[in-house]
Symmetry: C2
Subunit: 626 residues, 2 copies
């Protein structure tokens, strides 16, 4: 807490804020009743917090509320969307008349916020993610010389999520003092009283234990809320948490602190009763039918070509290390690039970037959820974040990546140590489901470089490409296959071995591509030609090229991947081929089919059925069958 | 902290414990040097904690250390596996000679612990999950009248994970006082000093803010560690956290508190130097080649048939509600059944169980990671946990489910509100990637009931089936299709419409099955017969039955699912058909292909391409193409 405190706001300035809070309550109830669903009582508890934040604390450009200069607001308790929309409308970002379209298919005002709404930077609605997004926005402002501040409104129910405390420790550790958390402690969850009910001191101690300045206030006392926001502004060196004791449904007698009202809109009759209690309501304004959605979402900034990869053909380099080199080269020409690492920078090799430009790597410690959502916030400020950890540990942030997908966020993620080829560390360290997870994120690109050149080039591509890009890198060193000028279009694939007489197309990536190449040599020595494809881009899939090649080998195809059989390369390729009408004469999918084990990489590739031997066997089986 | 404290252990009893710590250090270094990899320094910091816990505090049956009566130990910092194995060996669970097989393919002593090792209940190695597992083991003991206590060893690095604090708040809230957390604060992460270095007070305040009794000790002072463990035992009403200041690499001059040693085995020369420092080492014992893996892992207990579903054909009931009814019926005949809910029991309908048997529902609040790992602990005690939340929020616990898969844990998960058919709440609340995630968990069964009868029967099946079972339930009410005695074998499917002249097989589940049935009616009125399949069991897939039906319709197939196109029903079915050699004449996959939007369920089903109209169009296209 700070020692010097600004003078309290005079009562004459509080009254307009109280009126704003009253209007926000009216809008929130009307909107949800019109929609027939929504969470009015979760809005009512936050009305003073919202009014004070939007109409006293925040300074932002109503014509461009997502600009770098603008203070930002993140509604972490996304189900209170109506009151956010009401605040944006009252601020003049869009007309109040638009509010009555809430939750309609034709409206940008969805049930939970998305960045299509001006003033929103990230989709919320999966609880507990907003504070990390706010931390990322705050970092994005500071690193780009903006004095903008970031406000995050959280519910007490969502503060049970561990991700909130990852964000809190991160912001406390890095003393992110342009970040303010507002905790709306209304003591009512969806189905029960919250864990700590109105014991605001628990939250205070939790925040303080992680380096935050805190203040506990009556969340319906406008003077107290305004004063707390002022204190936050005048407390340097620490993020600030305003812990507000509130009532769910506050302001309406039959809703206030009542069970059973979560996520329920008022009936028209109930609304009338509520409005009668709350005083004169402005007339309902008719929507003009115009959309106020943002015209476009942020796109990654353009940048000049980075230095070309410097490998010799056949040189042994791990794709994970090439990623680090590529990141360093990229950052040398793109000042917006940042790495966020989960305490594994010496395994994922983002430390190569750090050695060149120490301030471009943010150590995020072992807190993957926070890494991803912080990156979403940074991307919303126009930065180009790369999150790195072992690929299996990115699964810790699956829900955050899902939400980033809904946000159409320009984040990049590098997952190293994929598959059984990591060896002795065993299954807990092996990503064997990451392709399934990332392929199922709409709009996400999934890259799987096999050699160093491809890894560097796809790192560059990730920085250029809008939306989520996932890079899957491998632990073992592998031979460089491509010259420094090779291009890797997206979608795309490389045909590494081909002839007019190819009997089967074999598709691999990463470590299995090299197994396929070994199988090629063995089969060739026996007089069988196979076509070998490097599927460096797993999504989007170059279906036309796949179809052309598999048709050329008579509809005979083998896929081989260091991944479980479900949701990976095999399913992607085979389904795409079948859908495009390729007559599939014989299909074999080689993949890991059970929980693996510790052992030497070669032992595991062999035991779990994805070695050159298995490729040869699959080809032999197919051809005998012919 | 407790007021009355037991007397300190006499020095004569401390010396043998110190000798055990010394032996554990020797074993840990030798094992990792023999393996050529591993994390010896992460073991060395924990030697006194491990020795005191295993040889002073814990009481367990060395012949059956996973028994209900046995105290349990969870190594949350799984990379310190060598010292756990060393402690188990020194305790007599398996011979010390076995230790030298660490990380070999033929050995059960994998790089990170798995439950195949006697004395281990859950796989660890993805950090921050052990405290939740421990909470589940502790609950499992208490609910089954065991006085057993549970000890969880955590690293300070992993305490950056939010999941740790979900577990801490859960255990504090429920006053799980047979649970002891040991925090090994060695201040060194993998790639940097940890966030709070040796500031043990931060951890103390974090635990205390959540209701734990705490004690800070010098983790290399055996008397202090032993005393703390005694204090923990004599502190009722609260879980107990022993926060130990330690040194990574402690005991060896060139390792202690040194950077750059994470995850590195000593060379044979370095080992010799280390052993010279640490005093006389016992001779290395030669492995006898015998496996000491557990013969089997826990299987769910058998139970009599629950009451049959009570629906009339055509009655409208949501599968999510039938799940709740089924869970209640199941629990009426199986006392091991428990529900853990993420504050959504009134949406997922586990509150139906709670109304019948209030003590069988555990409110886990909004902390999905903790729900899943707690369930893993409960299952390891022979309970039958069902975790429920919105399906999209289960994605928050993807890494925990992944680790549960490696553990072969008997947990069941019900995800409600799948797909766009939830309507107005919008994309953040829609699970459209859950099939991809759960299908990629090895050994997991994926059930997708369409009607109430099937939902109840598959809930029963989940309780009988070993391994992870995932139930995907829907928000809208749907017509009951099956009589109360219908059986739903696994794998299996139901052919709901068929004739000798079926032109196309249409495969759906959940809401899309009803769209397929509508399409059937429309096409029939136009003289086209289609075969309609209810794919209630998405994994394992009944490939033989699928192939038979699709062959019967000339290799023409349409899949339709309320899920993204990747990793769902379409890819599973089409790939399986192609692999089994079904000549696919025409394939259409109807699925959600982009981020959806708020709107009415019918609007969304229509807009996102999975309605009866789209099924009819797909069939028409296929048949025109013929």
């Amino acid at each position: 807490m700070t020692a010097t405190r600004p003078a309290a706001l005079p009562a004459t300035l509080l009254e307009p804020l109280r009126e704003k809070a009253r209007l926000l309550r009216i809008h929130s109830m009307r909107m949800t009743t019109a929609a027939g669903s929504g969470h009015p009582t979760s809005c009512l508890s936050a009305a003073e917090l919202m009014a004070a934040t939007f109409f006293h604390a925040m300074k932002f450009d109503v014509a461009d509320p997502n600009s770098l200069a603008s203070d930002r607001f993140v509604l972490s308790k996304g189900h209170a969307a109506p009151i956010l929309y009401a605040a944006l409308a009252e601020a003049g970002v869009f007309p109040v008349s638009r509010l009555m379209t809430l939750r309609q298919f034709s409206s940008e005002l969805e049930g939970h916020p998305t960045p299509w709404i001006p003033g929103v930077d990230a989709a919320t609605g999966s609880l507990g993610q907003g504070l990390s997004v706010g931390a990322g926005l705050a970092i994005g402002a500071r690193r780009q010389k903006s004095d903008a501040r970031v406000y995050v409104l959280m519910g007490d129910g969502e503060m049970a999520e561990g991700s909130v405390w990852e964000a809190a420790e991160f912001a406390g550790f890095y003393k992110i003092d342009n970040l303010v958390a507002l905790a709306d402690v209304n003591a009512l969850g969806q189905s029960d009283r919250t864990m700590y009910r109105h014991d605001t001191d628990v939250y205070r101690r939790k925040f303080e234990s992680q380096g935050w300045a805190t203040e506990v206030v009556d969340g319906h006392d406008m003077a107290a809320v305004v004063a707390a926001l002022d204190h936050a502004r005048s407390t340097p060196g620490q993020p600030y948490a305003i812990i507000a004791r509130t009532e769910k449904g506050h302001g309406i007698s039959f809703l206030a602190d009542k069970d059973g009202w979560h996520g329920k809109a008022l009936s028209p009759e109930q609304l009338e009763k509520a409005l009668a209690e709350i005083g004169p309501a402005p007339p309902v304004q008719k929507d003009d039918g115009r959309s106020y959605a943002r015209k476009s979402l942020p796109v990654p900034p353009d940048f000049p070509a980075p230095p070309a990869p410097e490998y010799k053909l056949g040189q042994e380099v791990a794709s994970r290390e090439a990623y680090g080199t590529g990141l360093r080269n990229l950052a040398s020409v793109n000042p917006k690039v940042y790495a966020l690492t989960g305490d594994v920078k010496n395994s994922t090799f983002s430390d190569i970037l750090q050695k060149a430009q120490p301030d471009k790597l943010i150590q995020g410690y072992i807190a993957e959820q926070n890494l991803v959502s912080t990156a979403v916030g940074m991307a919303a400020q126009g930065l180009v974040p790369f999150v790195d950890t072992f690929a299996c540990f990115l699964s810790r942030a699956t829900d955050q990546v899902r939400m980033a997908g809904i946000s159409r966020s320009n984040i990049n993620l590098c997952g190293s140590h994929c598959g059984v080829s990591i060896g002795e560390d065993g299954p807990s360290q092996m990503a064997l489901e990451d392709l399934a997870i990332f392929r199922a994120i709409p709009g996400a690109a999934v890259f799987y470089p096999s050699d160093g050149v491809c890894a560097e080039r796809l790192t560059e591509e990730a920085a250029r490409r809008p939306g989520i890009c996932y890079l899957r890198t491998s632990r073992p060193k592998t031979a460089v296959l491509y010259g420094p000028d090779e291009k890797f279009p997206v979608p795309g694939l490389k045909v590494l071995r081909q002839s007019a007489n190819d009997a089967v197309t074999v598709i691999g990536a990463g470590i299995t591509l090299y197994e396929a190449l070994k199988a090629y040599d063995e089969l060739k020595s026996r007089g069988t030609a196979i076509r070998v494809i490097d599927l460096y881009c797993v999504k989007p899939l170059d279906t036309a090229a796949l179809a052309e090649n598999v048709r050329a080998t008579g509809g005979r195809v083998v896929t081989v991947e260091d991944h479980y059989a479900q949701g990976g390369i095999g399913e992607a390729v085979i389904t795409a081929l079948a859908e495009s009408g390729v007559a599939l004469a014989a299909v074999r999918r080689l993949a890991v089919d059970r929980v693996p084990h510790s052992g030497k990489p070669a032992e595991l590739i062999e035991t779990f059925g994805i070695s050159a031997k298995h490729v040869v066997q699959a080809v032999d089986q197919i051809l005998q069958k012919k």
